[in-house]
Amino acid sequence: MSDIEGLLRQIQSELDLDRETEQKVLAEIRTHLEETVIEAMSAGMSLEEALAQAAACFGVAPEVGQALQAAHAGWATADAVVAAGLPVLLALVLRWLVFAPDGTAIGWQQVLVGPAFWAVALAALLVPLLKFERWRYALVSWGFFWVVTVIFVLGPALRW
């Protein structure tokens, strides 16, 4: 399968993504190419012919690489931005649910039975889960949200 490796190297040279995304993209292409080669060989082609056909079906490597770069660029950063920003945003929403604009604090018991709190908690889980390509980011983000929430309950937040 040295032709496949060569093709992958050409594609990789066009990519400037984070290492994890790059490896994921290349692994998907490798699987796709290998399946195409196996299908072609089972249809009676030689290995060389099957490799040539798979490479031809896939397209010109530099152009494919550039298209993949355009498709995946920025997603890792977008994930990181959401992972850092969303829990902060939701914590601020929580803060304003607990503490009214006039400075009076609502008891946590009242907050916990209100639908607004659960809407925020659900949003803190669902938005990252739907947004992130990597689910562990979503869990980390959700965990951070709960850490902040617990600090709200236990910490000296009543100064507000």
Partner: protein, 229 residues
């Protein structure tokens, strides 16, 4: 271009990014993406700062922080442009604007990365002066890295230009000092961003005093020398 993709490009492939600015490639798209990203990140950080005081302060700071950076950009970019032209630069005002916007975008994304930390301190301390100095330190750190990016960008963008390369480097250094002074005075004019707990919400405070005297006073209070009224 995905607006957030530009952050990755700036941070990961800054040489390519600055080269494209030098060649004038896709400037409107780049500037729009940087503007949108910066405004969103700065709004979030501003909301965190203002949340120590009141909802109105949080909303006010969320609006004022992007205004602070963008107004400083508008005020300072002609100086950079004309001084650069004077010393042989062939870059347009738009290219200079894009370069400064790059510095602001880097500062904004770094501020966003600090926002969980600042939020943590907001939740766990109730010392106003400490929180103010923490924010000043965060702004000093992120702003310094932002202008380092600007210096790096200016070197790449100016490379291969006409005579006066060395002079233009000095212009950038001089301009960074001017930018810091204008930025700090602008911040002082637009204050409060955090809001002193003993005072009611105000959109703007009366002019008077200056940023540096206030910071020294805060340091003095933290060290126990005196109490700021």
């Amino acid at each position: 271009m995905n607006d957030l993709a530009i952050i990755e490009t700036i941070l990961r492939n800054r040489r390519g990014f600055f080269t494209e600015i030098r060649e004038g490639i896709g400037l409107p798209e780049k500037m729009r993406a940087m503007l949108v990203s910066s405004i969103v990140f700065l709004m979030l950080y501003g909301a965190v700062m203002g949340s120590t005081h009141s909802l109105l302060q949080a909303l006010s700071s969320a609006v004022k922080l992007p205004v602070l950076f963008l107004a400083t950009l508008v005020i300072c970019s002609p100086t950079l442009y004309f001084f650069n032209v004077l010393f042989g630069s062939n870059q347009s005002l738009t290219q200079n604007f894009a370069l400064i916007l790059t510095a602001i975008t880097v500062t904004a994304v770094l501020l966003l990365s600090f926002s969980p930390i600042v939020l943590f301190f907001l939740l766990t301390t109730n010392h106003y002066q400490f929180f103010k100095l923490l924010n000043v330190s965060v702004f000093a750190t992120t702003g310094s890295i932002g202008v380092l990016f600007l210096g790096q960008g200016m070197r790449i963008v100016s490379a291969g230009g006409k005579e006066g390369n060395r002079a233009r480097h000095n212009v950038v250094r001089f301009w960074i000092v001017v930018y810091a002074f204008v930025g700090s005075q602008m911040a002082w004019t637009l204050r409060p961003f955090i809001g002193a707990p003993s005072m009611n919400f105000e959109l703007f405070r009366q002019l008077g005093g200056n940023f540096y005297a206030n910071i020294f006073a805060s340091i003095g209070e933290i060290l126990g020398f005196f109490t700021v009224m």
